[in-house]
């Protein structure tokens, strides 16, 4: 295709090298940006990232540390990063998020960050009285090659904190992986630093359940409720539920209940580990299963009926406990909700983006209610994810049109929405502009929701989560129809 031919205006000469878009006419540029030609150009991008659906490692590490009771997350790096992480999580959950940094500046860049780390530990320990510190690094500390392990040893020797004060640490360079990598690294760091070594074959009889990177307090509560309903003795590791959604009592407590120090210390004596997300816990799974030889299972994030079935059956198989009638009744209600509302969702085309584990759960869910996932963008997806998603799509006729785009961003998604339209976009707040451009509704599901309140309080996992999702999606379609339909089509019944 010659550039001159595809150019929307005639005044663009054949010598045009950088662009064929017309200057001055906004509509013409917009039209051009909706073409296949633009899409090709957009997908040919190699270096520039525009509107990504992922962020950096320490953000995930912070979430992980916040799940341990009495734990103060401590960033070894610049205070600017800490301010950003705290702001971002606070905006999503509307809760106070406590975290310190050791405020590294130019002198630390030159001389290393040891002095800041030691001074920082001393002040943080005295002021905020944590029962444990979860330390992770910024990209600055990683680039200059700071050795947190030896710095912590030196801090203890110099009396900044007592010798036996628990400190876990993890390297979380921002230029590697994404927030889910940071979550994984911090979790492994917690186990490596603070869990007692496995005591032979003896187990504490407890199932350790790892939720993965999940900012829905509602999800975490739902997991615990279902597992308890099965009569299973469990520990959630880490458990940031209360930090993500704490009661308003007129008193502020910096630390909320979470996984206790004792539970963390005893983690490697678990009877088993159940991972509820695969890609945000990859390294920890390997550590628990291969190094520690603990019975380990990993399920697809239990979104939708079948994924929840698999989750409960895995629990049953791991513990020998039966699935109680109570949960079976819930399942029946979820199926009822699906049957009652399927007509609003069946055959509808969806575009989705988000974290790998979330997407695997959502795609399975959509297909089981007759929805058609079409564009699946995963900014932090890898080859393994792409293969797994493709295999999942191949299991259903509703997945026939589904295509996976790992490592792509929301500007790629915009081209997809404009050249191959869908009925709904599923994602977080960051998708609202492209949804508007493409004139499709956005169903807000995901991990950065700063423009709607309290969505993180409603579970999207388990049977109850399935009911919530069906309700949300069906009603959005109905709302859209009511808002846009011709008056003669406006009815009381839908």
């Amino acid at each position: 295709m010659s550039k001159a031919e595809s150019c929307p205006t005639s005044n663009c000469a054949t010598t045009c090298t950088t662009s064929c878009a017309p200057a001055g006419d906004t509509q013409a540029v917009l039209d051009w940006m909706a073409t296949e030609e633009y899409k090709e150009k957009n997908f040919a991008r190699e270096a520039l990232v525009i509107n990504p659906a992922r962020t950096c490692q320490p953000y995930g590490a912070m979430l992980c540390a916040l799940g341990i009771e009495g734990c103060l997350p401590f960033l070894h790096g610049s205070q600017g990063c800490a301010a950003y992480f705290r702001s971002a999580l606070t905006r999503h959950v509307r809760e106070p998020i406590a975290m310190v940094s050791d405020s590294m500046t130019e002198d630390a860049a030159v001389f290393g960050g040891q002095a800041n780390l030691i001074e920082g530990l001393k002040n943080a320990y005295a002021t905020y009285k944590p029962s444990i510190i979860g330390m992770f690094s910024s990209c600055m500390a990683e680039v200059i090659g700071d050795d947190m392990k030896s710095f912590i040893i030196n801090a203890r020797t110099q009396g900044a904190v007592p010798e036996d004060f628990p400190i876990a640490y993890a390297n979380t360079p921002s230029f590697v992986g994404s927030h889910i990598t940071g979550y994984d690294n911090m979790l492994k760091g917690l186990l490596n630093s603070l869990a007692d070594t496995r005591n032979g074959k003896w187990t504490n009889g407890r199932l350790y359940v790892v939720p993965g990177f999940d900012l829905y307090a509602g999800n975490l509560r739902e997991y615990k409720r279902m597992i308890k309903a099965m009569g299973i003795y469990m520990t959630m590791l880490p458990d940031p539920t209360e930090t993500l959604d704490s009661p308003n009592t007129g008193e502020y407590n910096m630390y909320q209940p979470g996984t206790t120090m004792a539970e963390l210390a005893d983690a490697l004596n678990a009877s088993g580990f159940l991972f509820l997300q695969k890609y945000s816990t990859t390294g920890t799974q390997k550590f628990v299963k291969n190094v520690q030889k603990i019975a380990t299972e990993t399920v697809t994030m239990p979104i939708g009926v079948q994924n929840t079935d698999a989750f409960l059956m895995t629990l049953q198989q791991m513990t020998g406990k039966a699935i109680p009638a109570e949960l079976e009744a819930e399942r029946g209600r979820a199926v009822d909700a699906a049957v009652d509302a399927h007509q609003y969702i069946h055959g509808k085309r969806f575009a989705l983006y988000g974290d790998p584990d979330l997407l695997l759960g959502l795609v399975g869910f959509l297909m089981e209610i007759g929805g058609m996932p079409v564009h699946i963008v995963c900014s932090n997806g890898n080859d393994a994810f792409t293969k797994e998603m493709e295999a999942l799509l191949a299991t259903s006729q509703y997945g026939a049109e589904g295509k996976v785009y790992s490592g792509k961003d929301l500007w790629h998604m915009r081209s997809l929405l404009l050249t191959d339209p869908v009925d709904m976009l599923i994602g977080d707040t960051h998708g609202k502009q492209i949804a508007k451009d493409a004139k499709v509704p956005l169903a807000r599901i995901g991990y950065f929701m700063t423009d709607r309140v309290h969505l993180h309080r409603q579970p999207i996992v388990g049977y109850q989560g399935a009911i919530n999702l069906i309700t949300m999606l069906a009603n959005i379609f109905i709302d859209e129809y009511d808002r846009n339909c011709p008056s003669e089509r406006f009815e009381m019944l839908r």
Binding site: A21, T26, R54, R91, V143
Partner: protein
């Protein structure tokens, strides 16, 4: 009180922090230590140079692409978080609501990111041919590995025929976002200012509005007043700003600066280089607005002075109505502030218009000149704190029990949990504008909403209330 609050810190931290806090007294010399490093390990609200340069100054220039150069996070967190409203179609006329990153991977750290940067800019121009300029806002690793973004910028500017501005705002530079403002101003000076001439002559009433970031539409509310006064606002720095406006900004008669902290540097430069005078003004609340209109008008002739009085007279009844509605509900209520930029002093007048009293105030990243401007605004016994830690703020609020706290998102829910009414005073809590005559009714409504919300009475369960009685 101060000693008790600081007692928790280790000795060294205690000594250092004591210098940053003062209680205003009659005839005190009113010195407070500011603009020094944060103490490691203490929770500060401060950000970094990148936040000051990209997040505050460059971000709102709408027709430029601002590349967050480095790992993905900094760009992600600063994406759309300042509420800088802009005009124009996204992706064609404005790029402010979007996020552009060079997304450093490990190999960029090892081998350098200069080649990638050139590629990033080439791709940006290809995909967004209407873009008017590019800024390169560098993140920590870029400075640490010693990339030469200046030479990449120079080369690409020629190739792409665009103004390209390297901004050395790595987060580890300086001690807060304040240095980022300064660096950003210097970059504007070196790469944009004076590089373009408008065809028309400079009119007698041509002004620039500087240091208004159009949060929730603030700049539009401010601009409206200036235009009603008969002035011509040739450009806004940098809320809803344009490249052309920045490049030709030396062609005005007067610079009007709202956020002194972030943009005084460029005003001083324009005064020295182009002989353009500048004055500070305050458009929060009718009292300060009227004062400011008169001060601004005094810089011009009688026509403007007359119009200025007309503007004041026109809006006075509307403002009185707002005061009549809300003052009875807010009279005597105590406010504690902890913000950045200009707000810890500028908003005081607006609170006073509503009969409220500011009993504590402080800045995240102010300098001595900010405190020199703040002390005279305060009544005696006001607590003034610089770079307050979360521990200090919590304790001040616990002890003073103000009726309202105005601070940022990180502080908001701490005080909400304590049962103290709160408004975000960086972002206007997703409301606004708060500037100008358009803003004051919204400001008054929001403060009333926070202080008098019936939701506060729900905090204690009735069965526990009964027990207490």
């Amino acid at each position: 009180m101060l000693e008790e609050v600081l007692a928790v810190y280790p000795e060294k931290a205690q000594k250092l922090r004591a210098k940053h806090i003062a209680i205003k007294e009659e005839g005190c010399s009113c010195a407070i230590k500011s603009n020094v490093k944060c103490i490691p390990g203490l929770m500060t609200a401060r950000g970094c140079a990148y936040a000051g340069a990209k997040g505050v100054v460059w971000g709102p220039i709408r027709d430029m692409i601002h590349i967050s150069h480095g790992p993905i996070g900094c760009g992600y967190y600063s994406w759309g978080m300042r509420r800088n409203l802009t005009q124009g179609v996204v992706g064609v006329e404005t790029f402010s609501p979007m996020m552009f990153s060079s997304d450093f991977s490990e190999s960029n750290i090892v081998y350098g990111g200069d080649k990638k940067l050139a590629q990033v800019m080439k791709e940006a121009k290809e995909l967004f041919p209407t873009v008017q300029g590019i800024s390169i806002c560098s993140e920590c690793p870029v400075g640490l590995i010693g990339d030469d973004i200046e030479s990449v910028a120079k080369k690409s500017a020629k190739e792409l025929d665009l103004p390209i501005v390297p901004v050395r705002c790595e987060g580890f530079r300086g001690i807060s976002q304040s240095l980022g403002h300064h660096i950003a101003n210097d970059a504007v000076r070196d790469y944009l200012l004076g590089k373009r001439e408008r065809p028309e002559e400079v009119g007698p009433y041509d002004v620039s509005l500087i240091g208004d970031y159009n949060i929730g539409g603030d700049a539009w509310a401010s601009k409206k007043i200036l235009e009603e006064m008969g002035l011509t606002v040739k450009n806004v720095w940098t809320g809803d700003g344009t490249t052309e406006g920045m490049m030709a900004a030396h062609q005005v008669k007067l610079n009007l600066i709202h956020c002194y902290r972030s943009m005084n540097y460029i005003c001083r430069h324009m005064e020295e280089t182009y002989g353009i005078p500048w004055i500070e003004f305050n458009f929060f609340g009718p009292t300060k607005i009227a004062e400011s209109i008169r001060e601004i008008a005094a810089m011009f002739d009688e026509t403007i002075q007359k119009k200025g009085e007309e503007v004041i007279a026109k809006y006075q009844p509307m403002m009185q109505k707002v005061i009549d509605t809300y003052r009875p509900r807010l009279e005597g209520k105590k406010v504690m502030l902890y913000v950045g930029g200009l707000r810890p002093r500028h908003t005081i007048g607006a609170y006073e218009d509503l009969g409220m009293e500011v009993v504590g105030t402080g800045y995240e990243f102010a300098h001595k000149d900010d405190y020199d401007r703040t002390f005279p605004e305060m009544t005696n016994e006001t607590v003034i704190y610089d770079d307050a830690t979360e521990h200090e703020l919590d304790e001040f609020v616990r002890r003073i029990r103000p009726d309202l706290v105005g601070s940022g998102i990180k502080e908001k829910y701490v005080f909400e949990k304590m049962g103290v009414p709160f408004r975000q005073m960086h972002s206007w809590d997703y409301s606004g504008p708060y500037h100008g005559y358009d803003g004051f009714p919204i400001f008054a409504r929001d403060m009333d909403m926070a202080v008098n919300s019936p939701t506060r009475s729900l905090t204690k369960a009735p069965w526990n209330k009964a027990k207490e009685v």
